[in-house]
C-alpha cells in the first residue's frame, strides 16, 4: 500500500512518464477496488483493510500508518481517474512543462496519501502537501488575475489547516489524558471514545471549519471561484474534482468520527451554513458570465450538499454524500476540461461572446451538453443518483421518533432541494447561450474541434459519469457498509 509514495518516481520526466504513471495509478486503483470487493465478499469485516503501520516519530507516538475502507477506496478510484484525464487535458501545455508536471505530481501524491492515511499526523502532512503546489500551479500557469487568486487560495486554505493543527493537538492530548494512551491513530482514538463532551465542543468547530474551508463551506468559500477561474485546466479539474473532496472526507473521518458527541450537539450550526452554501452557490452561479466562475459556484453548491448530507448522519445520506463526491468530482472535471478546451480555442470564457459552438466544434459541444445534463441531475447520469440518495436519506433521517431536530432537518432538506431547480436554470441558460444560435464572431468559424488527446480525456470522463449513473449499486455497496461502521461508532445507529 505505498500508493501515495510510488508516484513520486515519475518526477523528473515529462509526458511519457506522466501517462505511464497515471495509467499505472489508474490500474492500481482499479485493482485495489476489485481486491477490496473480493475481500468484503469473502466475509472480511475488519474496519480497515490492507493496513500497514510503522512507527515514525517514536517519542511523539507518531506512526506512518495506512489502510482503506469503502469510502477511501472509491475516493482513490476517483482521484486516479482525474489524474489520468488531467494528464491528457494538459497535454499541450507549453512553457515549463516539466516543472508543471512535477508540481502536479506532488499535488496528487498529497491527495493519495491523504485518503490512505489512518494516522492524524500523516494525514495532516499529506493534506498540506496537496495544498502548496496549488500556489505555483495557479501562479505560474494560470490565467486572469492569477497572482491574486493564487495567494488568496493558498492563504485561506493554510488558514484552515492552522485551525486544523490546533484541533488535532487537542484530540491528541485529551484522548491521551483520559485514556492514558497517547496516540495519533484514528481508529484507536475512535475506539477509546473518552474525550468528554464539553471538550469535544471546543475542538469540533476547529476541525470542521478547518476541513470545511477546503470543502467550500459558506462563508469560507470565497477562495474557490477565484482559484478555479484562474487555474489552468488540469489543476481546476483536480482541484474541484478531488481536492475539495478532501474537505468532506476530512470532516467525516476526523471531525465527526473522533468527536461524535460534538458532531451531534453542534450539527445545527453547520447544517445552516451548508444549506446556505447549497442555495447561495446555485444562485450565484446564475448571475455569472464567466464559464469558469459559473462552474466554480456550482461546485460550491454541490460540495455544500456533500457536507450537508454528512451532517444528517444517516446511512443513506452519508452514502449519498460519498456518491455525490464521486459524481461531482467526475462532472466538474469534465466541465473544467471542456471549458479549458473551449477557452484554448476561442480565448474567451465570457458567455456573452460565445455562441453557436455546436456548429464549430460539435464534439466539445456535445460533451458540454452531457456534462450539463449530468450536473442538473438527469436520471441516467451520476448526479441524479447522488442527489436522490442524499435527499431521501436526509428527509427520512430522523422520523418522528421523538427527535426534536427532525422538523429542522426536514426544513433544511426542503430548502436545499430548491437548489436543483436553480441548477437547471443556470445550466440550461449557459448551454442555450453558448452552443446554439448564430455565430457572432466570424473569426471563430476557423476554429477546429478536439484533438485526440482531448478526446481521450473527455470520453473517459463521460464514460465514468454515465457508468456511475447507470450502475450505481456496485459503488454504493462499497460505501454503505463503511459509512454504517463509522456511524455506529458515532452512536447514531
Amino acid at each position: 500500500m505505498l500508493l501515495g509514495l510510488w508516484l513520486s518516481k515519475s518526477l523528473n520526466q515529462v509526458r511519457g512518464v506522466m501517462v505511464t504513471g497515471a495509467s499505472c495509478l489508474l490500474a492500481l486503483s482499479i485493482w485495489l477496488t476489485i481486491y477490496f470487493i473480493q475481500e468484503r465478499a469473502a466475509g472480511n469485516t475488519a474496519e480497515m483493510l490492507l493496513t500497514y503501520s510503522t512507527p515514525w516519530f517514536k517519542p511523539l507516538n507518531i506512526a506512518y500508518s495506512v489502510g482503506v475502507d469503502g469510502i477511501s477506496v472509491v475516493m482513490l478510484l476517483l482521484s486516479s481517474i482525474i489524474v489520468f484525464t488531467g494528464t491528457f487535458a494538459s497535454w499541450q501545455l507549453k512553457p515549463l512543462t516539466k516543472e508543471y508536471f512535477l508540481w502536479f505530481t506532488l499535488l496528487s501524491t498529497g491527495v493519495f496519501g491523504f485518503f490512505i492515511s489512518t494516522d492524524l499526523f500523516t494525514m495532516f502532512m499529506f493534506y498540506e502537501v496537496a495544498l502548496i503546489p496549488m500556489y505555483l500551479l495557479i501562479g505560474v500557469w494560470g490565467s486572469g488575475r492569477k497572482e491574486y487568486s493564487a495567494m488568496k487560495l493558498t492563504l485561506m486554505l493554510m488558514g484552515g489547516s492552522a485551525l486544523l493543527i490546533l484541533g488535532l493537538l487537542g484530540i491528541y492530548y485529551f484522548n491521551g489524558l483520559y485514556s492514558g494512551e497517547y496516540t495519533f491513530e484514528l481508529t484507536t482514538i475512535a475506539a477509546n471514545h473518552v474525550i468528554p463532551g464539553h471538550i469535544q465542543n471546543i475542538f469540533f468547530p476547529f476541525i470542521f471549519i478547518g476541513f470545511g474551508v477546503l470543502g467550500a463551506l459558506f462563508p469560507f468559500h470565497t477562495w474557490s471561484p477565484d482559484g478555479h477561474a484562474s487555474a489552468p485546466t488540469a489543476v481546476s479539474m483536480l482541484h474541484a474534482g478531488v481536492l475539495m473532496k478532501l474537505g468532506g472526507y476530512g470532516c467525516f473521518r476526523v471531525a465527526m468520527y473522533l468527536l461524535p458527541e460534538a458532531a451531534q450537539d453542534l450539527s445545527w450550526i453547520f447544517l445552516i451554513l451548508t444549506t446556505i452554501s447549497v442555495v447561495y452557490g446555485a444562485l450565484s452561479a446564475c448571475v455569472q458570465t464567466d464559464l469558469k466562475y459559473i462552474n466554480a459556484y456550482s461546485s460550491v453548491s454541490h460540495c455544500g450538499l456533500v457536507l450537508f448530507a454528512l451532517l444528517m448522519m444517516s446511512q443513506t445520506a452519508v452514502t449519498g454524500a460519498v456518491l455525490q463526491m464521486l459524481s461531482h468530482g467526475l462532472m466538474t472535471a469534465l466541465f473544467f476540461a471542456l471549458i479549458g478546451m473551449i477557452y484554448g480555442r476561442t480565448h474567451t470564457r465570457d458567455i456573452r461572446e460565445l455562441a453557436g459552438l455546436m456548429k464549430i466544434m460539435p464534439f466539445l459541444a456535445v460533451g458540454y451538453v452531457i456534462a450539463g445534463l449530468a450536473n442538473l441531475g438527469l436520471p441516467g447520469f451520476s448526479g441524479f443518483i447522488a442527489e436522490m440518495t442524499i435527499f431521501v436519506g436526509s428527509f427520512g433521517a430522523h422520523p418522528m421518533s421523538g427527535d426534536p431536530n427532525a422538523s429542522f432537518r426536514m426544513v433544511a432538506t426542503i430548502i436545499a432541494c430548491m437548489s436543483i431547480v436553480v441548477t437547471a436554470v443556470y445550466i440550461l441558460r449557459v448551454v442555450g447561450k453558448i452552443l446554439y444560435g448564430e455565430v457572432e464572431n466570424k473569426h471563430f468559424l476557423e476554429l477546429t474541434d478536439a484533438t485526440w488527446d482531448e478526446r481521450v480525456a473527455v470520453i473517459c470522463l463521460i464514460f465514468c459519469v454515465a457508468g456511475l449513473g447507470s450502475f450505481p449499486f456496485w459503488v454504493s455497496d462499497i460505501i454503505s457498509p463503511a459509512a454504517g461502521t463509522i456511524l455506529e461508532s458515532i452512536g447514531v445507529m
Binding site: F57, V140, M158, A162, L177
Partner: protein, 474 residues
C-alpha cells in the same frame, strides 16, 4: 588547582585547540598566495573534528559544578558546530574578497563559538556571563568586517551598544538573584528560589538580557539594522547560531534555575512570544530589502523557538533543539543564495533583484523555494515537522492559555507564508526585462547549498534525526 578538570571540558578544549591551530596557520601562511584556500579547509576540518569529538564524549561537570554539561547540550553543540561549518563554507566568495583578513575571520568565528559552548554548558551564572561576553564581542567585530562599507560599521556599533546595555541589565538581574538566594549555581538557586518580588525582578531583568541575544520583540530593535549592515555570512551566523545558542541557554536556565517559578516565567513567555511572532510578521510584510526581511522573519522564528519552552515540559528541549537544527539548514540555504546573488549582482539585496530569477538561474531559485517553504512550515520539508513538534510541546500541559498562544502562532504561520510566498512570486511569476544574468556558483556555495538542501529534505522525513535529539533530551 586541579588541571585535570580541564579535560572534562573536551568540546571546549578542542575548540581552543582549533583556534590556536588556525592562528598558527594564519601566521605561517601570511605571505602565501594559497592562504585563503588552506585556511578555510583547515578551519572546516577542525570544526568537523570538534563535532565528532562532541558526539562521542560523555557529558560531565567540572570545577565543582560551575561547568555542567548534559547530553542535550552536547547534541546542541554538535548542531551548532555543523551550522558554523555551513557558515564557513558559504562565506567562501566573500572571504575571497577580503583576502588579507581571512585568518581573522575564522579565528573570530571559532572564538564566538567557544563563547557559546561555554554559555550553554554553564552550571552557574558566572560562567554563563563569561561565555555570553566571549560570544558577543567577537561577533561585533565580525559585523564590522566589511571595513569599506559604512553600514557595516553602523550595524556593529548598534550591536555592541545594545549588547553592552543588555549585559548591564542582565548583571543587574543576576545580582538581584544573588541577593535573594545567596548563590550563583543553578542547582542551588533552584532549591531556594521563591516567588518573592526580588526574585521576579531578577528573573525579568535576566530574561531581557537573553531576550536581546535571541532578539525577542521588546528587545529586537538592533536586529534589522545589524542584519542589514553585516556581511551576509555574518548575518546568517547571527540569525541561526547565535540565536540557537542563546535559546537553548535560556531554556536550560529557566528550567534548571527557575524551575520552581514556572508560573511566573510562563506568562512572561506568553507575552513575549505573541509579541515577537505577531509584530515581526507585520513588519516583515513591508520589507523590500531581503536582509532586513530575513531579520524580521528571524525574530518571528525566535518566537516559535521559545514556544517549545512554554510549560516546562519534557518535550520542550528536544523540540527546541530540533527546531534550531531545521532552522539552521533552511535559513542558511536562504542566506547562501542571498550571498551568492549579492556577489554576482554588485551587492544588491533588494527583492526586486530577484524578479524573473527562475528564468536565468532555475537551480538556485528552486533551492531557495524549498528553503522558504521549509521556513514557512510546508511539508514534506523539515520545517513543517519542527513547527508541529514545537506546537505539540507548547500545549503539552493542557493550559488553556497555551492553546490560545499556539492558536495565535498558527494564525501567524499563515501571515508568514504570505511574505515567504512574495519572494517565490518574485522569482517565478513576476516578469522583468532585466533579470539577473545567469551565473555559475562557486564550489563553497554549492557544497553549502547541498548540505542545507539535504537537511531540508531529510531531517523531517527521516525520523531518526529527531529520535537522536529526543533520546538525549530526556
Amino acid at each position: 588547582m586541579n588541571y585535570s578538570e580541564f579535560l572534562k571540558m573536551i568540546p571546549e578544549a578542542f575548540l581552543v585547540l582549533a583556534l590556536i591551530l588556525v592562528f598558527i596557520g594564519d601566521f605561517c601562511l601570511n605571505k602565501s598566495e594559497r592562504k585563503n584556500a588552506v585556511l578555510s579547509k583547515l578551519a572546516a576540518a577542525l570544526l568537523v573534528v570538534v563535532g565528532v569529538v562532541t558526539t562521542s564524549v560523555t557529558p560531565e561537570s567540572a570545577f565543582g559544578g560551575i561547568y555542567a554539561s548534559s547530553a542535550a547540550i552536547n547534541v546542541m553543540k554538535v548542531i551548532l558546530a555543523f551550522g558554523t561549518l555551513i557558515v564557513m563554507i558559504m562565506a567562501q566568495p566573500w572571504v575571497e574578497k577580503t583576502h588579507r583578513l581571512a585568518g581573522e575571520f575564522y579565528m573570530l568565528l571559532i572564538s564566538t563559538l567557544l563563547g557559546m559552548f561555554m554559555m550553554m554548558s554553564s552550571g552557574s551564572f558566572l560562567l554563563f556571563f563569561l561565555g555570553l561576553e566571549t560570544a558577543s564581542v567577537p561577533l561585533a567585530c565580525m559585523v564590522a568586517f566589511d571595513r569599506h562599507r559604512k553600514d557595516s560599521a553602523e550595524g556593529a556599533a548598534k550591536y555592541i551598544l545594545v549588547a553592552t546595555f543588555s549585559s548591564g541589565v542582565m548583571l543587574f538581574g543576576i545580582s538581584f538573584i544573588y541577593a535573594a538566594t545567596g548563590t550563583l549555581y543553578f542547582d542551588d538557586v533552584a532549591n531556594v528560589v521563591t516567588g518573592s518580588p526580588l526574585c521576579i525582578m531578577g528573573l525579568t531583568f535576566f530574561f531581557s538580557g537573553l531576550g536581546f541575544k535571541i532578539s525577542l520583540v521588546p528587545f529586537h530593535f538592533w536586529t534589522a539594522d545589524t542584519y542589514q549592515g553585516a556581511p551576509t555570512p555574518v548575518t546568517g551566523y547571527l540569525s541561526v547560531i547565535s540565536k540557537g545558542a542563546a535559546a537553548i541557554t535560556l531554556c536550560t536556565i529557566l528550567m534548571k534555575a527557575f524551575g520552581p517559578m514556572v508560573e511566573y516565567w510562563n506568562y512572561l513567555l506568553y507575552i513575549v512570544i505573541v509579541l515577537s511572532i505577531t509584530l515581526a510578521n507585520l513588519f516583515a510584510i513591508r520589507q523590500s530589502e531581503l536582509k532586513r526581511f530575513m531579520a524580521f522573519s528571524s525574530i518571528s522564528q525566535a518566537g516559535y523557538i521559545m514556544l517549545a519552552v512554554v510549560g516546562n515540559g519534557q518535550l520542550g528541549v528536544a523540540a527546541l533543539t530540533y527546531y534550531v537544527l531545521v532552522y539552521i539548514v533552511a535559513n542558511m540555504a536562504v542566506f547562501t543564495v542571498i550571498n551568492v546573488v549579492e556577489h554576482n549582482n554588485g551587492g544588491r539585496t533588494d527583492m526586486a533583484a530577484y524578479n524573473g530569477f527562475y528564468q536565468t538561474n532555475p537551480k538556485l531559485s528552486f533551492l531557495m523555494t524549498l528553503a522558504l517553504f521549509s521556513l514557512a512550515g510546508i511539508p514534506p520539508f523539515a520545517g513543517m515537522f519542527s513547527k508541529f513538534f514545537v506546537f505539540m510541546a507548547g500545549v503539552q500541559n493542557g493550559d488553556p492559555m497555551a492553546y490560545i498562544v499556539v492558536f495565535i502562532a498558527l494564525v501567524n504561520t499563515v501571515v508568514s507564508l504570505y511574505y515567504y510566498l512574495l519572494i517565490v512570486k518574485a522569482m517565478y511569476i513576476t516578469k522583468t526585462d532585466t533579470p539577473l544574468p545567469t551565473f555559475k556558483s562557486d564550489n563553497g556555495t554549492k557544497i553549502a547549498l547541498a548540505l542545507c538542501t539535504a537537511g531540508i529534505a531529510l531531517f523531517g522525513v527521516v525520523s531518526c534525526v529527531y529520535e537522536w535529539i529526543a533520546a538525549a533530551g530526556l
